[in-house]
């Protein structure tokens, strides 16, 4: 059997998988009856519904003809990796990871790291330009978030600020 729409086939499988996972998870809680719904009732219902819809989507993907096979296409690994890496690096630097003994480096260091790493996701990388951008963002964020909005951040590395 040939897959007629790759996108629909994959998304159908995804919905089925997630639906089954939720439904299965829901059975570990008290399901109860309609008149006395337990915490598992509604999620079980929705999980089954999602799995059903997913199977219909998968079925249609195998039967309904599409013009070009609805290819999913190449995954953009580079932007995906660098954007997410920038995000996680920022989180680690901002708050530290006490469980792994990484100290908090604070907002400013985090901004420089985030800007540099995320800039690698694009096609061109110009270190000087990125440095200027990071500095502008660092000053701007300090003024906007810390000074004007008074949000609570560890601004400087914990071993300096104490």
């Amino acid at each position: 059997m040939k897959i007629k729409s790759n996108k629909d086939f994959a998304s159908g499988l995804m919905f089925m998988g997630v639906g089954i996972a939720f439904a299965w998870g829901a059975t570990t809680y008290n399901v109860g009856t309609g008149a006395r719904m337990g915490p598992g009732y509604f999620p079980l219902l929705l999980g089954i519904l999602l799995a059903l819809i997913g199977s219909v989507i998968t079925f249609k993907a195998l039967t309904v003809e599409t013009a070009d096979g609805d290819k999913i296409g190449k995954w953009a690994w580079k932007p995906l990796f660098f954007i997410l890496a920038a995000n996680f690096a920022f989180g680690i630097l901002l708050g530290g990871l006490p469980s792994m003994g990484i100290p908090a480096m604070g907002l400013i260091v985090g901004i420089y790291a985030l800007t540099f790493i995320s800039s690698l996701a694009g096609n061109e990388f110009n270190a000087k330009g990125v440095f200027v951008l990071a500095t502008v963002l660092a000053i701007g964020s300090y003024v906007a978030f810390v000074w004007a909005l008074k949000l609570q951040f560890p601004v400087w590395p914990s071993f300096i600020a104490g």
């Binding site: 719904m37 929705l46 997913g54 920022f90 989180g91």
Partner: protein, 503 residues
Amino acid sequence: MELFNNLALGFGVAFTFQNLIYCFVGCLLGTLIGVLPGIGPVATIAMLLPATYALPPVAALIMLAGIYYGAQYGGSTTAILVNLPGESSSVVTVIDGYQMARKGRAGPALAAAGLGSFFAGCVGTLILAAFAPPLTEVAFKFGPAEYFSLMVLGLIGAVVLASGSLLKAVAMIVLGLLMGLVGTDVNSGVARFSFDIPELTDGIGFVTIAMGVFGYGEIIANLSRPDDEREVFTAKVEGLFPTKDDFKRMIPAVLRGTALGSALGILPGGGALLAAFAAYTLEKKTKLQPGEVPFGQGNIRGVASPEAANNAGAQTSFIPLLTLGIPPNAVMALMVGAMTIHNIQPGPQVMTSNPELFWGLIASMWIGNAMLIILNLPLIGIWIKLLTVPYRWLYPSIVLFCAVGVYSTNNNTFDIWMVGAFGLIGYIFYKLGTEPAPLLLGFILGPMMEENLRRALLLSRGDWSVFVTRPLSAGLLAAAALLLIIVLLPSVKNKREEAFVED
């Protein structure tokens, strides 16, 4: 006149110096970010939401409403100047607006969009003020069964408008509903699907979903596309004011667009997008006057009417939110989230328990519209400059704002891990061609739906027929079924698919 008393109360609240400033800042920020290419209103509001945490609730909501209008307006500016709809409801503005810009008439196109939106906004605000109180009365008659059916109708209405596959959109809603259930169950105290992670027992933060899926997901998707050369009409915006002929054609178009938009906006799930499409179709059907440019080649009516309609629709889509507490679209879902952060439970009780908030918000919508006109037409030069900011500077800033924004919600790095995960999920959605907006709507409605279903079935002792035996509930469900049937009819189905493909 009660209406005028209420509006007077509202203007009294909105016209304080502090609230005017917040409204202004909201409009300014909203336009600023809305103009930037590749960021829709959902991402804009999610990004700017943390900026309102520290404000008092009235001021925060006023500012958010300003951001919403600004983002809407910024979207039409990019539509006209760059052939890039900043958001879905300006998709039709692109068709004639960009052609006008190519012919050197970007100024009149922008003015038509601005003036049309302003007029529609005024009318929409009046309708909102006039219809909200009687609708609230109706809402108080709603039992849990009616609420459940109403949410079904709202969700179905929202998908009918999603582009692409209807089934996938329904699946996304259900997925959203499920994700909304993560966390502690209010009735039994059981932490569901939390994998013993303490942060997850409070549920998934809707800001993390919105920013991850709409912010990161979109950035990754944008970066994966090759840079296409964009023609930006920066130099040619002179002679802002439309000619007398333009006005003559614009005015009836704006009136028609406003009427259509106001009516469609009230429907659950309707809102700005449907309004804009319908208005453009209507204009195309009306006969061309002698000497008029055909549609698709830069007809001013093709800009004025959809813009008026989407603004009127945006305004009246606040009606279901404020009176029933049910968000009709993803943006309104964010507003619900914002309200709950400020400890306001949206619903019919808002008007009686917080009249100054309710009417202040309505009055500030009008003020926001007026500010947009004042802000946008003279400042258009600055907005155009923003369009030329290269994306390689833009996206690191967006990533930063998202990361800072989610962190500041709870001052917890856990939210940063979550937003990263949702960025990945958002990109997967993009690759699989599933639209994320219904997910957000389902996410907000999930707990509400469960609660109302639980209550309805408790009252009926587990009898599901309660949803069809109560007339109001049955009517709402019938409307939902009708909507589904209409969309699935072969003739409408083809038209719908056509409408979402390039015109």
